[in-house]
Structures are given as C-alpha cells and as structure tokens.
Amino acid sequence: MRPPFFLHRHLLTWASIGLFLTLLNATTSASAATTTQTQARLSEKHRALLESHCTSCHGPAKQKGKFRVDDLPLSIATLEDAERWQKVLNQLNSGEMPPEGEKQPPRTLKADFLEELANVMVTARRNLSDQKGAITMRRLNRREYKNTLRDMLGVEINVSELPSDTGTGAFDTVGSNLFMSGNQFEQYQSLSREALSEAFDRVAAAGIEKKIRIEAEETFKAITKNIQELRDGAERAEQWAKAVEAAAARPENATVVAEIRKKSKDAADFRRSWKRIVGAPAPEEFGFKSVENNADKANGALTYKQNQGNGLYLRPALDYYLSLPHLDTGAYLSVAGGIHLNNSLLYYINPNWPPGEYMLRVRVGATSDAPRERRFLEFGIHPRSGRVMQTYEITGSIDAPQTLEIPFTLTRKHTSRDDRTVFIREKGTLDHFTQTRVVVNKGRAETGFGPKVALWIDWMEVERKTTAGAPLPPGLAALGIPFDDQAPEIAKPELRKALQRFALEAFRGTPPEEAYVDRLLGIYDARRKAGDKHSAALKETLSVILASPKFLYLAEPTPDDQRRPVTDAELAARLSYFLWSAPPDARLRALAARGELQKPAVLVAEMERLLADPRSEAFVRSFLYQWLGLDRLDFFEINRTLFPRFDDSTKLAARNEIYETFGYILHSNGSLRNLLKSDYAILNGVLALYYGIDGVRGEAFRKVPLPPNSPRGGLLGMAAIHLMGGNGEVTSPVNRGAWVLRKLLDDAPPPAPANVPQIARLAGKVLTTRERLMAHQEDPQCTSCHRKIDPIGFGLENFDAAGQWRTSDSYQLVNDKGVPDPKTKKTWQINPGAAFYKGPTFRDFFEMRNHLAARTDAFTRSFSKALIEYALGRPCGFSDEPLLNAMVQHAGTRNFAIREVFAALVVSNDFRTK
C-alpha cells in the first residue's frame, strides 16, 4: 500500500499569496489582449524557394492542377490558407513536387523550409482551434462518474462498459470532446441501478462478519491424490497396452497387425487402432472414460511410467516435491509440476458471503536457500486472468513466518467462481506460458527436475470485516427514508421530500424542479402498480436521477454567453473535479456557501488540502497517464524470452514508479527539476531489485538515495519510460527522442507526415541502429524533423527495451518467416554521444541529462500547458500564453516547486471565469 507521504500544508506562505494577486492582475489584463497571440507566419526568405521551383507551373502564367503558390500569404490566418499550405507541405513531403526531371531545391534549403512550414502549420492549426478561453460545459467523464457515485453511495462500481473518453488526443476533461448518446444514457441508468443495489446491499449486510482459515497442508491430500491418479492411470494404461499386445500376438490377427504396424509410427500409435484387433480390449474397460479419444488418454497416461512426456518432466518434479520437509504443517508454492502441485494457491470465497471489505491473511516464509529474487509473492483475484494486483516481499522464514495482510473488495458483480477466487503465487512464475517455460527450463538445466521451491505457506485466512456503525454515505443519508421492504409504507409527502433531498445531493446543491420531482413520483407509483416492491421501485426512481443532466453535466449556467466570474459553488466543483475527479466534500461546499472560497488564501489552502487527501490519487494517475502517454505501456507484450526479468510484478512496479515519484514530488512540494534529474528514486523492493539497488525491502515505495553515477532518478531513469520508447523487443530512438521533445522540452515535432517515401534500400543489410537512422539525414523530408529527434534517441540507447542499462547492442537478419539468422549477427558498443540540433553536444546519457535538467523552464511550460488543459477542460490555446507565462515565471522564482504551478493556476482569472 502507499506509504503516507509527509505533508507540507503551509509551504505557500502569505508572502506568496501577495504574489498571486500581482499574477492575477497580470492575467486579467493579458487575457483582454488576446490579439497578441503567436502568429502563424513563414519567414520571407522562403519566398525565393517557391519562386524558383514552383511558380513557373503554379503561378500567374500557368496554374497546373488549378493550384498557384505565388499568391499564398505567408501568414496563415484562415482555414482555407491552412489547407492550401497543407497541400504544399504534403506534396513536398511525398516527394511528388517538384516532379522528377525538374530542378530540385538544394537539400538544406528544402529541409529548412519543410521544418519551418511544418511547425508553422502546427501553430496555425492551434490558432484556428483556439477556444479563446471559453470552456464548454461538459459531462462527467467515466472516472468522474465513478468517483461521484462512490462519494454519494459509498460503493465503487466497474464503469468500463461506458465508452472511453480518451482517444481524441485531448484530455478526458475537455468538454468539447466528451459526447453523449442514447446508448450511454441507458448505460448510466443501468450502472446507477447497479450502484444503488450495491449500496443497499452493503447497508443491509453491514454487520455480517465471516472468517475462515485454511491450513496449507490440506493441499497435500489433493497433491497425493493427483500423484496417485497419475500412478494409477499409468498402471491401468500399462495393463491395457499389454492386453492389446497380447491380442495382437494371436495368430488370427497376424495380417491385420502387420498392416497396422506398417502404418504406425510407434507402439502408442499402433494401439490407437485397437478396434481392428480381434480380442483387444477397449481402453474404457481400463477406466479411461472421457468424451474424447480414450486410446489417446491411455497412451498419454502411460508416459508417466516411461521416460518420455509426463514421465520425463512431471515425475521428477513430483518426486522432488514429495521429498520436501514441512509438508505436514504447510505447503510450498511450486514452479515445476504445473497444476499437479501448487503453482498457485487459490481460495474460492463462499458465494453466500456478501459484498464488502475483505482481508486475506497469508502466513508465509521463504526457504533458507531461496535467493532474493525469488522471495516475492503475488496476489490477485481471478486466477484465470492472472492479473497481479500486488506483490509482497517475503522476509519471514519457514521457522519464523510472517503474516501478510492483503485487503480487497468484493462487489455484487463478483459472482462467478473466478471473480470470487483469490490467488497467491510466486512472482514471475505464471505470468505467461512463454515465461513459465523459460523459468522451468532454467531450473531443469540446474537440477534436472525444475526450479526448487522458494516459498512456504503455513495458512491462508479470509475475513469479511464488519462496517456496522459506520455513517451512511451522503447520498443514502440525504434520502433519509428506509429502503428495505420490511419498512411500513412511506407517505407520499415524505417520499417526495426524500427524492428532493437525494436529487439536491446528486445535483451538487442545485435544487430539482417541482415538475421533475412529480415525474419521479410518477415513475415510483407506476413501478409499484406494476408489482415492484418498495426497494425495487425506489432504486428505479433514484437511478433516473443519476442519469439526469443536472447530475451528469458540470453546468455553469450563462444564458447570455457573457464571460462572468464563476460562483462559489461552481468554483468548489471546478477545484474538486480538478484535483479529485470527484464532487466537492462538505467542507468545500460549506466554504463556498459562506462565500469564502473566492479568497485567494482560502482557495490555495483548500487546494493544498485536496492535494493532501488520498482522493488526489485520481488526479495523479489520470493526469500522468494522459499527459505522458502511458497507454503505450500496454500497446505491446514484452518479449519474455529476451527479458525474463521484466515480469508482470516488475511491470506493475515500473508503472507505479511514475505515479509514486510524481506523487512524492507533489506531496513534498518538490521541484519539477527532480523529474528531469534527481539524486534519489522512489522505489519498492521489486523495482530496486530490478535496478540492482541494494537495501530496499518490501512493497511500499519510498525515497532511496542514489549514487552519483546512477542512471536512475527522474523520468529518464525509469524502466517504464524506456519500455514505451520501444516495442518490447528493440528500442526506438525515434520514439524516445520525439517523446523527450514533446513532453520534456515543450518542443513537439510536427505530427509525422503521411506518405513520406520509406527508406527501403537498407532492408536486408546488417547495420547498427545508428547507421540505419543516419539514412534520415540524406532526405530533406526526413531530416527536417529527424535531425532534432534522433540525436536525443541516441543519447538514450544505453537503456534497452525493458529499461535495463546496457553497453552493447546487436542486430541480426530475420527471414520472411520470422526466423533470425544468427550467422548474420553483429554486435557493437553503444555510442551515446551526439548533439542537440543547433545545441550543445554530449558524450553520454549523463551529460545529456544535465542539459535537459538545465531546461527546467521548458519542462515547466510543457507541464503547465497540460495542467491548464486538464484543469480547465479545454485545449491550451495561444490566448492562454499570458497565463502560461505567469505560471512558469511564478514557479521559476520558487525553484520550480510543483505546487506553485498549481497555485498560480487556481488563483488565476481563467480558473475562476466561466
């Protein structure tokens, strides 16, 4: 679980509040002067290139393709101009213009022109789509909808059936990109029904306590039974085989037997034709009675006795397990032996145990000779999906085991056997069959039977905890009437008031219209008349409220479309949905009601309070996921044969490192510079082991000091970031370089152009990565962007595709069928030295990182842009330049302390204006 971060509640002093007031004025006057936006303008010097290479065919005299360039304005101010310039850009990029045989522009000139045009086009598009500060009303996105139900009803439901809100390139808070459909309306209603049912059930079952302990040695019975069955099956199969051979030996069968033998590849194959042999018994007579071919089953069973198949691999693993000590008091988590042994331990939770908060306790110890990397235990629900939810480091031993406490939640939706089955297993042994194969083969090579056991379990205990006496969640408290069917009939006026109160809560303080409540009462009545009981009719009625517009939309009414300051209540909602993705809590609403929230000091103090609350995790995760493009982490499967150490637990920890590091900086109000370079990393045991850093034990992430020569620390030291900059097998310097430009340097390259001719002539050649990428320098279309991108990627080549440090790399040819040819393999020492385009040179990653860290202002700008878009729910346009500058400058005077950026944003006019 997360360690509690120490909180610096009052880092922002009154002195800095004074600064905000100045800042506030600055943005007020600046936003009035939006005409000063950056112009999308090409420099005059490029006119010459167009005149000497284009105008003769596309000018006043001739207009081939009805297109002329001589009258193209250098300033792109309209969509029409933008389209015409786009055409020029596309034609040059695809190499179609100037046509073959015509005089071609000099390479550097063309590259420079392409670079500038592509960037000016980005500027133009951004200008043309600028919302000029206007914020479109938006509905709750998927996360906010879920959290809002959680805060109202006290339950978390799975909302994955709602359509995803991302994918448009904007943050999922941008109202103009959040749509609504009829289908969705029905989903909202059904999800609300689900949440209400869950909430009602939780209240009904609040006092129920359940507990069961399972001694691990009980598995021994099943294991011995398994082994006995294998032995017994082999015996029966052997008898059947003998009987078939005996029948085959009869003289009357001689002809047919000879014929079958000729066609059979071995004795087992021969027995498959037992039916043709007179007197041969059916395998069914020997107990093989499956629905499939039982001769095959018998042949399979027999291998357990023979030195092949099961006999070769399974038997030694089972024999080894049986020879282990402590089987009478516990059980081992095994690796070899598959499902015949304990490759995972499962517990199926009684379907009669109600939804609620649960605790799994595991008493566990490691064997004395278990190496460090094998002392980790994975926990999850749904063994078939096998998704790891948490990884625990085991420090206990068999003599002195430790007791893990693993909290989890079961909901009404956890009805299937899989959904009610918790599992534990050794880390990195069952993620994927290709990985299990690697691990087991490695063990076989060492011992002959497979990996030795490492973890021993004494017992497992599952408990459902009581929540009796806990206050009702706000939504149900607001309702204020019984919702079970035993209660006496509720009088109309009372029901009416209850619906009003619930709607008021759901609508975040806006009272519902009378006519609306009348309709709700009508629905309740109709359901009762149709035969529904009270609770069912009530649920149906409340679910309508939770699918109504005033619940679903964060509305800030402005009938005349004039800009106006937001009201206190609107400000409260903006702040809480920004930092919690959830509705304002009672304190925030009370401050708003008293009219105090508009005071900068109060607003900033509330911002601090919200950030310190665990609910801010919703911000950290969703903001980073979208800002840094972490969806790429799930784009491809890591090649588990190449990177066996990068197992599911490590991937989970690597992903969490990003969130935890940012969270640490946020909660300690650290400098944004630490995300570029830092002398510490935020690690847990699994990740420290992966990075080869000693002295970190356990599942909690914590601050770990790094030696000066460590490549870790900051985003570019993180395995997950490098994983994204590759395809799970090999690195992509281009992806990495573009990511650094886009996210860290606020210098995003223009979008990759369509139809650029691919460089095909290098196929089939054995080259280093760098040699291959140098081809980009030859074509102006490529070099116009790649001269900026590629060098940064070269500087990161010491990180392999799984983020491990390396000093050499290799390449070999692969044929059409995907088979590599080792004869062609070439290995080289990585040279990470390069130079930023028109910038300083660097000899290695460390020097490059220093250059990047010196650009914290650019990084703060990139971060602030993203924060503006996320917080305000609209793209950050050029009209936001004054705000952006104010945020960066303000933070800059405070060592880029991260919360200064937040504070500058929330007190700004933009945050407080509709």
Partner: protein
C-alpha cells in the same frame, strides 16, 4: 442521418396498424408500398458466417504460391466449385490481439484486445456488423439479427459472447438461439397482449419524460455554446425514442408471411444450419432485416454427420491425424456444402430490377481460428456483389495483415465510410474489384 424525430412520436401510438414498406420482390409478388413508387436501387445486405473451430489447414486453403484466379480449388472447398468465379479466398489476415485458442468468434468481427481495459479481465469493442447495422438497419423491422445455433457456443469453439455481435460499447449482443427462436422472432406474432407491450413502452417513456424535464430546466440557464453540448443529450434521448417508436410502429403490424414452415423444435447440426441459412435468406427476401451474423454449430454438426470425434479433439488433429483429420475434413465439406447451397439461393432470387439478391449482398465466411490454436491466416471467404469484392480469386495479402482492414474495406464497399474498425490500419484494397 435520417431525421425521424420530426414526426412526433405520439403519432405512432395512433398508427400502429400502418402499412410498412416492403420492397418489391417478384418471387413473392409483394405489393409495392405507395410512397416507394419511384424505382429505388435494391438495398445492400451483409452476412457474417462464423465457423468456430477453424478449418483443416492442409486441405481448405488454396496454395499461397498461386495467387490470382488460376488456383487449384482445394478439397475442402470443392462443394463451392460451381460458385468458383463468385467468391474469393483471402489469406494472410489475423487479429493481432487475439491469443485465445478456443475463441473463434469472440473477436472475429471486432479485432479487440481483451485486456485493453485496466481492472477487468475481458473487454471487447463493436463488431463490424453492428457498425453496418447503424446505417443499413434503418429501414427494416430489425436493424440486425444475431443468430446462433441452439447449442452452447463453447462446444463449437466460438468463445465468450451471446452471439458474434458486440455493440458500440463492446457489450455482447444477445443472439437468437436456433431456428425456432429465429423463426418466431422474424415471422411469428408477438404473444404479449398489445396492451401490455404498450404499457412497457409507456414506462420506458415516462423515464425519458422525467429526464427531459430536468434537461429543459438546465437548458433555460445555458448560453448557445453549452446548449449545443446539451443537444447531444437531447439527441440521445431522441434516439431512444426513435427506437421505442420503431418498436411501437411495428407493434401489431403482422410480420410478412414466412416463406418457410415453422421449424421442428428438435433439429440440430447439419439440418439446423441449413434451416438457419434458409431463415437468413427468408429475412433478406422479405426485407425484414439487412445485417446478419450467424454463429454456426460445430459440435452438433459432427454428431449429425455421425462423427464420434470430440470437436475440440478434432481441431488438434496434427499430432495423430487419422480420424481426427478425417473428421476435420468432413466438417469442412459439410460446411462448404451448406454455404454453397445458401449462395445458390441468393443467386436464384431476383430483385425488382432483375438483378439477383446475390448482387446486393456482401458475405464474409470464416473465423478467428485457423485450426488448433493457430490464430494467424484466419480462414476468410468473401462473396456476393454487395460490397464490390474482387471475386474468383485466391487473394494473398502480406502475412499478418489486420483482418479489420478487410472489414473496413467491406464497410466502404457497401457505402459506409467508416474511418477505422478495430485495429485496422486502412481499408484492404486488395479485396475490392
């Protein structure tokens, strides 16, 4: 987009016995609907036929070294010989996210990644037929039909799902299990009293009325820009109303007289498949529906062919071959025969303008599994004139081309300009004439 909402929904409550447009089909001699007097182009239809546990690799696929029209028709496709010039086999397609060896249909039409959603162990996305139904389904009583055999899909290697169709949210679309259910849905009168049906619809409407009340209250406070946003909500509600209206509109309208007899309740395997094809054909013929998926039985097909091999066992014929291979090949033949017979029917029936139903129907036949657990080079046959397929060819595309590229091209072929589908990277032009 069609603008139905201009007709106030309440009108339909009074006109539940209205005549419903039926296309003129000479074979049945239907009377042309008055308002459709002007000659209209015959409508497009789409049919997706899923075969579950794959096919036999060595005898179903044409040789990839002989692409084009002059390939040797493999044994497994022999029953389709008479249609040789009218279908193409496409090779090299796959769904890159699929890694479930027993799920022949779950992702076949979606191309989804089951682990795409964090926090859940399964997710899917919209299937291509549902994308098509959005457009092609507007005019007919049923926007689309998802048909299954009566048996459980798992036994036949189809994988999870209530049918082969998945809705826009990636949720399973409930299918009609077996010919009897399909027949009743299409051709039998609703047994619920109309009054009760109306009450149910009225209840759904009262919910819409309530949220509209709230929406109107909200609307009063909003400026132009925000109102445009709220319009989406109104539109959503209108869409639901349109659907309820469709239900209402057809309420009490007798379905077309069935061009076939009511199926017996106990029928499985070969005969069942044949009947399901007949029902699809009848639905096309009467223009009751224009988009179909059919998840075919495999387990009961084997039983009806008197094959004793367990269906899953059959698909793993590689190690032992012998009777498993034989079963696999006989399965291919039976499926090809049934398919061939369906094409006969489509070709034999004429539209009003003299063209064949076949010319306006686009059919995809195949599945996500090649054989065993092999999920590359998914078996794919494309036929019909509805999407402008290149026919009569052994089309070999680069290995591991997204199957969704074919679906995208198919959508484009019937006039639906979708930008992408599933993991598509662009329409597969190689399959279009």
């Amino acid at each position: 987009m069609q603008n139905l909402p201009s007709l106030h929904r309440r009108h339909f409550l009074r006109s539940t016995t209205a005549l419903i447009a039926l296309p003129f089909l000479e074979s049945l001699g239907f009377r042309r609907f008055a308002s459709a007097a002007a000659p209209v182009a015959p409508p497009k239809r789409m049919v997706f036929l899923g075969v579950g546990w794959g096919v036999t690799e060595e005898s179903w696929y044409p040789d990839i070294r002989t692409p084009g029209p002059n390939y040797a028709l493999p044994a497994g496709l022999k029953p389709l010989e008479r249609h040789r010039k009218d279908f193409s086999v496409v090779q090299g397609l796959w769904n890159k996210f699929s890694n479930e060896g027993h799920w022949g249909s779950t992702f076949w039409l979606t191309g989804a990644n089951r682990y795409a959603q964090p926090g859940v162990s399964f997710s899917n996305s919209i299937s291509v037929d549902q994308v098509a139904a959005e457009v092609l389904g507007k005019q007919t009583r049923f926007a689309s039909l998802a048909l299954n055999s009566a048996e459980n899909g798992d036994a036949s290697g189809h994988g999870p799902g209530l049918s082969m169709s998945w809705d826009i949210g990636g949720k399973p679309v409930a299918g009609l299990n077996g010919p009897l259910a399909a027949y009743h849905r299409l051709f039998a009168k609703d047994t619920t009293p109309i009054e009760q049906q109306k009450a149910l619809l009225a209840q759904k409407r009262s919910v819409l009325d309530a949220v509209l009340e709230d929406a109107r209250a909200l609307k009063r406070g909003l400026g132009k820009r925000d109102n445009r946003k709220l319009d989406e909500y109104f539109q959503g509600i209108r869409d639901i109303e349109t659907r309820l209206t469709k239900e209402e509109q057809w309420l009490g309208v007798l379905p077309p007289k069935a061009p076939l007899n009511e199926p017996q309740s106990v029928i499985a395997g070969y005969e069942e498949t044949k009947l399901m094809y007949d029902i699809i054909f009848a639905a096309i013929q009467t223009d009751t529906c224009r988009v179909f998926t059919f998840r075919q039985p495999v387990s009961s097909l084997l039983t009806s062919l008197d094959i004793k091999v367990f269906p899953h066992d059959m698909s793993h014929y590689h190690t032992t071959r012998a009777e498993k291979l034989d079963a696999s090949q006989r399965r291919d033949l039976a499926q090809s025969e049934l398919f061939s017979r369906f094409l006969d029917k489509l070709k034999a029936t004429r539209e009003a303008d003299g063209s064949r139903l076949f010319d306006h129907t686009a059919v995809a036949y195949g599945g996500n599994i090649r054989t065993g657990h092999e999920l590359t080079n998914c078996p794919t046959i494309l036929t019909g004139g509805g999407a402008g397929f290149k026919l009569g060819q052994n089309i070999v595309v680069p290995k591991n081309t997204p199957l969704c590229n074919a679906w995208l091209a198919m959508l484009h072929g019937v006039g639906i300009q979708a930008e992408r589908h599933g993991d598509s990277t662009g329409p597969l032009r190689e399959i279009l004439a």
